[in-house]
């Protein structure tokens, strides 16, 4: 509890000591900080019983005697808008004036904030309710204080825009003036809170500029790379190029001779699987980033590569294909697929290859650490500050209390910054040189040493009856699991990975089978925006289009038929062999609802002008996918030119994510996810040769223009290739919120490749599309 008291003291200085009202929101209701952490127990909010529910406050809400409202958000901001949308939810129920609201980023502290892991498209889903309750609690206390002051029943007063109003007399009083009394009143229990009806929302569902927008546009926003401390040194690290490799020998002389280079430091090696730990290597510490880079380039290092030196993408694809062609570990089985396939009127099979992808956030990994004799403080763009804190404590031999992790803005992350390896490097180097050290990963480092998106072969086989209905479906997926990064001998996807498309398949197919094939890992596999949904959804979305084509049916109609009449899919009778997985939610709370699939399918199709004729050379197709408890359908319209290049005039995205807090940021996320999904599909590929990543840096724009695969460059979609129009259609809903950051990615790639098929007759089964369309443009 020591660290909580420390936070408490800090908050007291800023809030309570100055007479403010400070509340924490927890899963079980709100508490006043002084009650929660052993201060004066005034009121019924009470100290949690020792055996009570875990204290996991999502947020701090502070109202100062000036009336200024501070909302401390514990999730990391990486462009998804969480800092803004969570604050909007609390401010709405509080009836705060948005102009008086300041949003602060919480440091990593599990005991104080509960899990802060910003992943799994979880922030709104997990914290909308606690934040609303925090706001409503404070509002109730302020209203009670005003009623007492005026000697009127509390039912006669109401908070409005940072004031409490007594309607019949027209009297008003500001929040600031009420704080002194409000903070002595009982904290109302959760059951007595009156939350707003959707029609009363002032901010939820409305358009509000993101809290960092103004700073970003003038260059004032502070990312990880922008952190500075007096006396800070700059470091760049040479890491073993092959996963699991070690340093054989180093010649440091040339590096030492670079002006500005101060120290060369060996970092400890971590054996495979390296998990969250850094890879080791040799660091150059210098007076500025440029000197550190020059010094690193001047190091002459001989490496022991180890067994993963054999990793070669071409060979590995063949191994995955072999795996996907033999019986695997069954994850879901219904009916009898062998008999059904044998008796099918039409039987088709297809294999899809989806390569490794690199996250490549525009801000490469970077962290600043200051390790002193008493502790460690870091500033880092991290999605997982608590994991970082625990890992730092362990590596440095400190208690977690002595480690502080400050979360900066993240210049993109997409899952990469859930790993603390780069933060640990900074701390080790700071300890070694006795000064604050900022570790800068170059883009070369980022691509060479990412926790890559997996690489997959997905094999599907389907049977149609004489009416063109799907009677059998077998899906085998072979890919190295994320679990292999953390434990040896992990050869199969786990239930959670299989539930990203395969075991949660919603279609009413009587004979159905999902299997995982074994795959040996040779590199670090990590979470990449929408994760294993990427290969699974590409294969499923493409195969459905192949089946529709074989059945001679329109894809949209065919999908609707596969969904069957609107119903909740009964996952207790789905033939699952393992634990049912539903993105950490229960199927009771978040069932698989085919009506919602149909809703987004129809909405996207209608808005895209489905069925309307297109010019020659163009195609329009659809894919639909549920992930992170949200439903998304994408319609991509593509034009394939005679030279094999393509352009994308229009994409329509329909999303049903339940209650929406910040529609403008939701549209932004869907636009961004669409572009990332298209970028993955058209260009995304990391390849290995001799155990080394072949892509050295971003593909330069001149080469990207040619549209061909760059072996040495990692290509990302550029502005000129981006869809001319992206129309996002949000299904109005007051249902439970689902995820937003990730679910837009999975349907994009299959919709694109289906549209390419519609335009050219060429079926893309190997990603990326890259140069595969040469010579196809004229077919249409």
């Amino acid at each position: 509890m020591a660290d909580i008291r420390e936070i408490d003291r800090r908050e007291f200085l800023h809030g309570l000591a100055a007479g403010g009202l400070l509340l924490v929101a927890t899963a079980s209701g709100c508490r006043r900080v002084s009650d929660t952490f052993g201060g004066t127990a005034a009121g019924s909010g009470g100290t949690p019983a020792p055996d009570g529910p875990p204290l996991a406050p999502a947020v701090y809400l502070r109202i100062a005697p000036t009336g200024d409202v501070t909302i401390i958000v514990h999730r990391s901001e990486m462009g998804q808008g969480t800092k803004t949308s969570l604050a909007m939810a609390a401010a709405d129920e509080l009836e705060a004036d948005w102009a008086r609201v300041r949003v602060e980023q919480a440091p990593g502290d599990e005991k104080t904030y509960g899990s802060q892991d910003t992943d799994g498209s979880w922030s709104i889903r997990g914290f909308l309710q606690p934040l609303r309750e925090a706001g409503a609690t404070a509002r109730a206390m302020l209203e009670a204080a005003a009623a007492r002051r005026w000697g009127v029943p509390v039912s006669d007063v109401a908070a409005r825009q940072n004031q409490v109003v007594h309607a019949s007399s027209g009297r008003t009083i500001g929040f600031g003036e009420l704080v002194a009394v409000a903070r002595t009143l009982p904290v109302p229990p959760k059951e007595q809170l009156r939350l707003k009806q959707p029609s009363e929302y002032r901010y939820i569902g409305k358009e509000i500029p993101a809290v960092d927008l103004a700073d970003i546009t003038v260059g004032r926003a502070r990312f990880g790379i922008d952190q500075r401390l007096p006396g800070m040194r700059y470091a760049v690290v040479a890491r073993p190029p092959v996963y699991g490799g070690t340093v054989a020998s180093v010649d440091e002389r040339a590096a030492r001779a670079v002006p500005g280079v101060e120290r060369i430091v060996r970092l400890p090696h971590t054996p495979v699987p390296s998990g969250m730990s850094p890879l080791g290597g040799v660091a150059v510490v210098a007076r500025n980033t440029w000197a550190a880079i020059q010094g690193r380039n001047a190091l002459r290092i001989t490496w022991h590569d180890g067994p993963n030196a054999s990793y070669d993408s071409g060979t590995y694809r063949a191994a995955l294909e072999r795996s996907a062609r033999s019986a695997g570990k069954v994850a879901r089985a219904q009916g009898n697929t062998a008999t059904a396939l044998a008796g099918a009127a039409k039987r088709i099979a297809a294999e899809y290859y989806i390569p490794h992808l690199a996250h490549a956030p525009m801000e490469a990994p970077v962290a600043l650490a200051n390790v002193t004799s008493t502790g460690c403080e870091v500033w880092a763009p991290t999605q997982a500050p608590q994991g970082a804190r625990d890992a730092l404590a362990k590596v440095l031999g400190l208690s977690a209390d002595a480690v502080k992790v400050n979360v900066t803005l993240l210049g993109g992350a997409f899952g990469r910054k859930s790993f603390p390896d780069f933060i640990i490097e900074a701390a080790l180097l700071s300890r070694a040189v006795g000064a604050p050290v900022k570790v800068q990963w170059t883009r070369e480092d980022d691509l060479q040493h990412d926790y890559l998106h997996t690489v997959a072969v997905e094999r599907l086989e389907g049977g149609l009856d004489t009416d063109g209905k799907v009677v059998a479906w077998v899906h085998r997926s072979a890919l190295p699991s994320i679990g292999s990064t953390f434990a040896s001998h992990v050869l199969y996807q786990d239930d959670g990975e299989m539930a990203q498309g395969i075991t949660d398949l919603p279609y009413a197919i009587p004979n159905l089978r999902g299997e995982a094939g074994p795959a040996t890992p040779h590199t670090r596999i990590g979470w990449y925006r929408s994760v294993i949904n990427i290969p699974h959804a590409f294969a499923i979305g493409s195969f459905i289009d192949e089946l529709a084509h074989a059945a001679g049916k329109d894809t949209r109609t065919f999908i609707a038929e596969m969904l069957g009449p609107d119903h909740i899919v009964d996952m207790t009778r789905a033939g699952l062999t393992g634990k049912p997985q539903n993105y950490d939610a229960s199927f009771d709370e978040y069932p698989i609802d085919t009506a919602r699939y149909r809703g987004v399918l129809e909405l996207a199709a209608q808005q895209a002008g489905w069925g309307q004729p297109l010019p020659a050379g163009q195609g329009r197709r659809i894919a639909v996918h549920r992930s992170f408890l949200s439903y998304v359908a994408s319609v991509v319209q593509v034009e394939v030119h005679p030279d094999g290049t393509l352009s994308i005039p229009r994409v329509d995205v329909a999303v049903d994510a339940g209650t929406i807090v910040h529609p403008e940021r939701v549209r932004a996320q869907m636009e961004g996810a669409t572009i990332m999904g298209l970028s993955n599909a058209l260009h995304g590929e990391i390849t290995f040769k001799g155990g080394r990543v072949e892509q050295v840096n971003f593909a330069p724009p001149q080469l990207a223009a040619a549209g061909d695969t760059q072996r040495t460059g990692y290509q990302i979609m550029r502005l000129d290739e981006a869809p001319r129009e992206i129309h996002v259609h949000v299904v109005p809903s007051t249902g439970k919120p689902g995820g937003i950051g990730e679910p837009g990615v999975p349907p994009t790639a299959p919709a694109l490749c289906n549209a390419i098929f519609a335009a050219t007759g060429k079926r893309i089964r190997t990603l990326p599309v890259a140069g595969q369309l040469a010579g196809t443009g004229a077919i249409a």
Partner: protein, 171 residues
């Protein structure tokens, strides 16, 4: 050597080959300019040299000797941006706010500097001209459709028209 950054004169005696990117960031503490690739492939490091966009990672400090360097921090003061209600902004910065362009924001200083340079020479760019000028600036968050819309808005603003409504759906 002497150079002017955002109107302030500086004397520099270090490695003349150091890229302007690291000079403004590490030596001057102007951190709005970002590192993305170091090879001229992403545009995150874009600054102006005598009003023209250059890649800060490909421009040695020596090339800026005696010339005027502008970074994102100094952009508003350079031009025609009419004063907004609170803050003096360049038209491009205002358009970026109107369209809520940034997501993570990391690439946006480079995008804004590139767009400002484009509009300085081509005040009413066509989509093809926007493609050509902006394709060197990567955005991993995928804000491209809004970047295009915001450039058209800024161009309209420059022409004295009322800032037009966002053209990409309702964004």
């Amino acid at each position: 050597m002497e150079l002017t950054v955002n109107g302030t004169r500086h004397t520099y005696t270090g490695d003349p080959a150091m890229p302007l990117l690291w000079y403004v960031r590490d030596e001057l503490g102007l951190t709005g300019t970002k590192y993305g690739c170091g090879i001229g492939a992403c545009g995150a490091c874009t600054v102006h040299l005598d009003g023209v966009a250059v890649r800060g990672c490909q421009t040695p400090v020596s090339a800026a000797a005696g010339r005027a360097v502008t970074t994102i921090e100094g952009l508003a003061a350079t031009t025609s941006g009419r004063p907004g209600p609170g803050e003096q902004l360049h038209v491009v910065q205002r358009a970026w706010r109107t369209h809520n362009v940034p997501q993570c924001g990391y690439c946006q200083a480079g995008q804004i500097m590139q767009a400002a340079s484009l509009l300085a020479r081509t005040p009413a760019p066509t989509d093809a001209e926007i493609d050509a000028a902006m394709r060197g600036n990567l955005c991993r968050c995928g804000t491209y459709t809004r970047i295009r819309a915001a450039i058209h808005t800024a161009a309209g603003d420059l022409a004295g028209a009322k800032p037009s409504a966002p053209s990409n759906g309702r964004s």
